[in-house]
Symmetry: C2
């Protein structure tokens, strides 16, 4: 045979693992969308700009994602998949959700466009008619619930100082992460001085609540 690893150029099912080219282009478009939203927000990002970054026309993009809102949802779902894998891995190893969130902050410090995009989207999506509003409502409810539950467990294990209230700390932990992301992004825009260390800030906050140091 001639070329060995030709992944179905015709765009047909091909039984097991078809649509390789289509899925690769979709992934490229999703990455381009994250960068564009990071720079301009959802309203400001244009399909033409995103398509150009992905190396296709904007009509070609709309073949993969029928509307701009569909594209946005694909970005959000993709992020859930990526983060979910890492968090599940940590939790499977017995790491508490709170500790896993510090790990997430560490990984985020290596993915600036993702943080930029989600920071602006979370702010935009507080308006009820934003296409990502429902997503962030669920996303935040779950994150706060998980953090709260984690603090409850730490409290039950006697690892939290007596005056610490798990019911408040869950929401405040998520709020702190969001606020630190804004400051981290701003610190990257300042040429002098080193960037904010989000994970170190979170570690400090957690240690301040623990009866014994975390590490």
């Amino acid at each position: 045979m001639t070329s060995t690893s030709q992944p179905d150029p015709s765009g047909q099912p091909a039984g097991r693992g078809g649509y390789a080219k289509g899925r690769a282009k979709r992934a490229e478009v999703i990455q381009a969308t994250i960068v564009s939203i990071a720079e301009s927000g959802f309203h400001g990002a244009s399909l033409r700009d995103i398509a150009a970054r992905a190396g296709i026309s904007h009509a070609g993009l709309l073949h993969h994602f029928p509307t701009k809102a569909h594209l946005l949802m694909a970005v959000l779902e993709h992020r859930d998949d990526v983060d979910g894998v890492d968090l599940d891995e940590d939790v499977a190893q017995g790491v508490s959700f709170i500790e896993a969130m510090i790990g997430l902050a560490e990984r985020n410090a290596r993915r600036r466009p993702v943080v930029e995009a989600f920071t602006v989207l979370a702010a935009e999506a507080t308006t009820p008619d934003h296409p990502a509003h429902a997503y962030f409502k669920i996303h935040y409810n779950e994150a706060i619930a998980s953090a709260t539950q984690s603090f409850r467990e730490l409290k039950a294990a006697g690892r939290l100082r007596p005056e610490v209230d798990p019911e408040r700390e869950g929401a405040q932990w998520i709020a702190l992460m969001d606020g630190l992301q804004i400051q981290w992004l701003q610190s990257l825009a300042e040429p002098d001085g080193r960037p904010l260390d989000m994970a170190a800030e979170l570690r400090y906050r957690l240690d301040a609540m623990l009866t014994t140091p975390s590490n």
Copy 2:
């Protein structure tokens, strides 16, 4: 951070009480801009929508503010003036900056569009080429510096627990305020359940750091 009075923004010397109508219309436009940015962000807000809310045409609006960016700057400066008056008042009465920020959170809970607009602007403006980028860089540096200094003073007065680090708490205090604003806005979009009490959350956080209850 100019907390003093505006020297006639219309550009001409008001002399003996001139330009009253122009200034009133400018104020109306600024309020309309806040609402529009709150709903759509800066990129998504349109001059036609803003002008319609203020009861003029978009060309009439551009008579007062030559470009969209000029309009944005006017909004930011106006907010500095309004908040500056309240904060200066508190500080003049001997209230610490941290306590004054809790008061600000209380007032913000009665100004949803302002919080919406500034939450989305702060996120958008982390990109260096956003027209509000320079403003927020200064704004955050000042806010963090003031909060840090306030924590230093509390520490020196022996009112902070020994393990509390004033150098970290200033930035974390501002981060917490930002994150709570996002959650407060989201809580307003949920018909069930009562809204998040930002001031109560901050009071809890402060009390957790103090050797003696704050109030």
